[in-house]
């Protein structure tokens, strides 16, 4: 498939994530949108990985060019998992204190 298709698909998902972050006020939804954005990037990384492989494999059948891209995706998942565990803990904490998960209540940065 032409790489542009993947790029545009990823951008679309990414921008949907951004719009979600901007529009929604529910902290959990915002968090989910961030996950969505991460996945868009992951998809793009895999697509690029296969694109590099596509050109390299013509010269060398046993090449592993592009495998790093997929490894990066793996590491991103690792980091995302860690992030989610901490982030959700924060949200639980926040809900416990304010009985709300509306981010508009979280304007402590103001002061």
């Amino acid at each position: 498939m032409p790489i542009q298709y993947y790029i545009i698909l990823s951008l679309a998902l990414f921008c949907i994530g951004i719009v979600g972050v901007l529009v929604r006020r529910n902290a959990i939804i915002i968090f989910m949108c961030i996950e969505l954005m991460l996945n868009a990037v992951n998809l793009l990384l895999v697509a690029f990985s296969k694109m590099q492989y596509n050109t390299a494999v013509i010269a060398n059948k046993a090449t592993t060019v592009g495998a790093e891209g997929q490894l990066f995706v793996f590491f991103i998942m690792v980091v995302a998992a860690a992030e989610v565990s901490v982030g959700l803990a924060i949200i639980v904490m926040m809900f416990r204190n304010t009985h709300s998960i509306d981010v508009n209540f979280l304007n402590r940065l103001k002061n």
Partner: protein
């Protein structure tokens, strides 16, 4: 149009529609379910690209573990009803406009980029996405980052416990 292309378009449409539905659902539980759908669609893409390892991991980690965690938190806080306060129209408008213009600009940028013309991603075949290849790479060249990521997990776990525990 061959099967691959049909599948590509189907999965893409599924991903985008599901992603939109994540935003549009009022009930957080529905949002989570739609997001799982997105992840499945992306995993489908991975399979199309023959990235088998990532496809499986994506479903296990994301759609399985992480989204279950989300669901778990939502259930815990009893948020499965429409609980969000009234939405601000201007806020929505501004968000959509800015997000849309960002998309438009980036897409136009891609369309102008000549370097990636006639470049294709290899579908179906190619063995770099196999567990064997990635595993070899992971435990040889990338063993140090791999170990460090375990430390990251440990610290995240400690952090979550510290934050979540009652005073």
């Amino acid at each position: 149009m061959n099967a691959i292309e049909i599948l590509f378009w189907l999965l893409s449409a599924l991903a985008i529609i599901s992603a939109m539905m994540v935003l549009l659902s009022k009930n957080p539980v529905h949002s989570v379910l739609w997001l799982i759908a997105v992840f499945f669609a992306i995993s489908g893409h991975y399979i199309l690209l023959n990235a088998q390892f990532l496809a499986i991991v994506n479903i296990i980690v994301y759609a399985g573990a992480i989204m279950v965690l989300f669901l778990f938190v939502i259930m815990l806080m009893n948020l499965n009803k429409e609980s969000e306060p009234k939405r601000n129209f201007w806020r929505i408008l501004i968000g959509i406009i800015s997000g849309g213009s960002l998309l438009m600009i980036l897409v136009s940028l891609i369309r102008q980029a000549t370097e990636i013309n006639n470049k294709n991603a290899l579908m179906e075949s190619g063995n770099i996405g196999l567990i064997k290849t990635l595993g070899k790479l992971l435990f040889s060249d990338y063993v140090v980052p791999f170990e460090i990521s375990s430390v990251l997990f440990l610290s995240a776990m400690v952090g979550a416990v510290v934050i979540g525990k009652k005073e």
